[in-house]
Amino acid sequence: MGLSQIIFLVLTAVVFFIAFKQFGAIYQNIKLGKDEEISGDAGWRWQNVLLVAFGQKKMFKRFIPAILHFFIYAAFLMTQVELIEIFIDGFGGVHRFFAEPLGGLYTFIISFIEILSVLAFVATIVFLWRRNILKVPRFWKPEMVGWPKLDGNLILVGELLLLVGIFSMNGADTLLQQLDPAHYPDTGNLAISSWLGPALFGGFDASTLHVIERFGWWLHILVVFGFITYLPFSKHLHIFLAFPNVFFSRKRSRGEIENMPEIMNEVKSMMGLVEDTGEMSEDIPEFGSKDIFDLSWKNILEAYTCTECGRCTSVCPANMTGKKLSPRKIMMDIRDRAEEVGKNLKSGSDEFISADKKGEGVTLSKDNYDDGKSLFDYISNEELYACTTCNACVEACPVMISPLEPILEMRRYDILTNSSGPSDWLPMFNSVENGGAVWQMPEERAAWTKEDN
């Protein structure tokens, strides 16, 4: 076994081990949310996976970014095919394993990848330009500083490196096939490399070409490895999570806010509509969501799926008119909070056990967790109460995220459990409760029918 095979093997093992740990942690963090069964309507779910996740249907509401994004996405998908060969070559110490058995088909597949790669290259340049020079407003909101901004650019730079890798590898290979056909099987005429190779490296001797080819090969796989370990920290998780996220979308009317059966039953028994079961527990119950534990696991999955594209924020009427609310920030905050809690839980440190549950032999778990913080340390009331529930964010999101759900859940916590909220609402609440109308009215409800018109 050659040295490069050993390096490749060890590297692969390390990368997959790290990735396994990291993705496991994300899975655990998603499960910090409330259990909720989301099932049924399999046909509708698969249709969404096909059209929205795979076909990126909702992206195409904005054609230019959609088509550019599609190039990168298609190149990414196709590169996976190429990766199969890279792994076989890397492990087996062979070169272009599929070239001979596949023959013309091989030429076609690799050419296809090359063409997509060039399109992806163009798209990447345009995206970097849009983000940094054109300064498309949705990429320049307050939440898009620091890591999120770097993240957006890093991936694009990574994409460029990948392309350099692919074309060095294929370009040099094309020339080597003529110089050393015994070691470099014929790939046929590759769409781009068959002319780009000679144009860039024509006249180089075999050993230089060999170095270039190896450089390209290693660069390619190293970028891929880097990408796998970097994904868990990045908005690019969406390339995987978009699929389950879309699959587990709730099938209910947009106009319906999640019912709260506990409260419904309580009110029903107050009104004498059902027998009082006397089941109300002694504890004062908490309603709504104060922290990620009170959100559904689906909300946390959505937070990890968020692409930080800002389509939601750019159509949010509150954000558009200068309010602090940004639906994208809501999703980013939930993810950050989930990461924070997940990290603390992993530390196992007693300092995160809530004071009243501390004791001999008690170990830190999600049920006794208390770090003195909550989602409200990330999301302010000023943000929550600026929402008009207009659903523009929900409509805009390309991966079927609802930033509105957590907003409403947090309002519920603030109003029902904290008995807080905007004081302006009190008269409205009182009038509805006592007079059955949103305003306190002296007249009869049907008085309008008697008025002259």
């Binding site: 009317s253 947009r254 106009g255 319906e256 806010i257 019912n259 709260m260 409260i263 419904m264 009110v267 029903k268 009104m271 509509l273 309603f287 709504g288 159509v315 009427p317 509150a318 558009m320 008119t321 200068g322 309010k323 602090k324 609310l325 000023e382 109460y385 600026a386 929402c387 008009t388 529930t389 207009c390 659903n391 523009a392 409509e395 409403l408 309002r411 519920r412 916590y413 603030d414 109003i415 029902l416 909220g421 905007p422 302006d424 609402w425 409205m428 509805v432 409760e433 059955g436 109308a437 949103v438 305003w439 009215m441 007249e443 009869e444 409800r445 049907a446 309008w448 029918t449 018109n453």
Partner: protein, 259 residues
């Protein structure tokens, strides 16, 4: 006009075809009361047998639920469902998209199952069935733009019914930059109607009114009492209230037909 309550129908041993859910705005807001009247006139002219609940109606609970006050929502909603089920109501029409949404999408989970229509849907049906004719050329040559309310449009995907009614008028219909699923909120939803705005650069209704003014329309057609208030306030702030009118779709029909 003699608008009958469902209790009056019941006293005569009768049931109306459809219940007109008036809503808080339609009952008490000076501007929205005119819309209730306009819609009642349309129902009358199409000879529809309808009734209102009168004092037995109360707030659907939409603003309470969206404010986060689920207790209050449940109290309002369950009480209304008691009344509606008591009268065995099957079909409801309302001129408020918030009432429409809550009755249609939220009451079923609480035990209230009805066929619910927004008044623009009913009017458009009446027109296509030939029960209502839109006449006159009151709007000939006028520029009319249409504001999609969030709760009828984006949330309940009803973009066509109101537009089909407008197409009956001899007017020049112009769309705003943001319309249909991209329609911009007027700023009232989510119980914003009942509180001061959070700090910002602009009021949402001003943003929407600017878009409406850009079209150069003389009339902004709306389908929601809260949108009407918000848009009218916005026009007043620009001192344009005499040049540009904000009218409910039912009011356009009433004017066109001289009802």
């Amino acid at each position: 006009m003699g608008v009958k309550t469902i209790a009056e129908f019941a006293a005569e041993g009768q049931k109306p075809e459809i219940l007109f859910w008036v809503g808080c705005a339609g009952s008490f807001d000076a501007r929205a009361k005119k819309v209730s009247m306009a819609f009642a006139k349309i129902l009358e002219s199409a000879a529809i047998s309808y009734a209102i609940l009168g004092n037995e109606e109360s707030c659907t609970g939409d603003p309470a639920r969206r404010a986060g006050n689920e207790f209050l929502f449940q109290m309002s909603a369950l009480q209304n469902i008691e009344v509606l089920n008591g009268y065995e109501v099957q079909k409801i029409v309302t001129a408020c998209p918030h009432c429409f949404n809550t009755l249609k999408n939220e009451y079923p989970k609480l035990g209230g199952n009805y066929e619910v229509l927004h008044h623009t849907q009913l009017i458009s049906q009446l027109i296509s069935e030939g029960k209502l004719k839109v006449e006159g050329d009151a709007f000939k040559g006028k520029k009319v733009t249409y504001h999609d309310s969030c709760y009828l449009g984006r949330i309940n995907s009803e973009y066509e019914a109101p537009r089909s009614i407008l197409n009956e008028l001899d007017a020049n219909i112009v769309e705003m930059d943001q319309s249909r699923s991209r329609g911009l909120c007027c700023g009232a939803g989510g119980a914003q109607m009942f509180k001061e705005n959070e700090p910002g650069d602009k009021r949402i209704n001003m943003e929407r009114v600017d878009q409406a003014l850009e079209t150069g329309a003389n009339v902004v057609a709306a389908n929601c009492p809260f949108c009407i208030t918000m848009l009218t306030d916005g026009l007043k702030a620009h001192e344009k209230q005499d040049e540009v009118m904000v009218l409910d779709i039912s009011e356009l029909i009433v004017q066109a037909n001289g009802l």
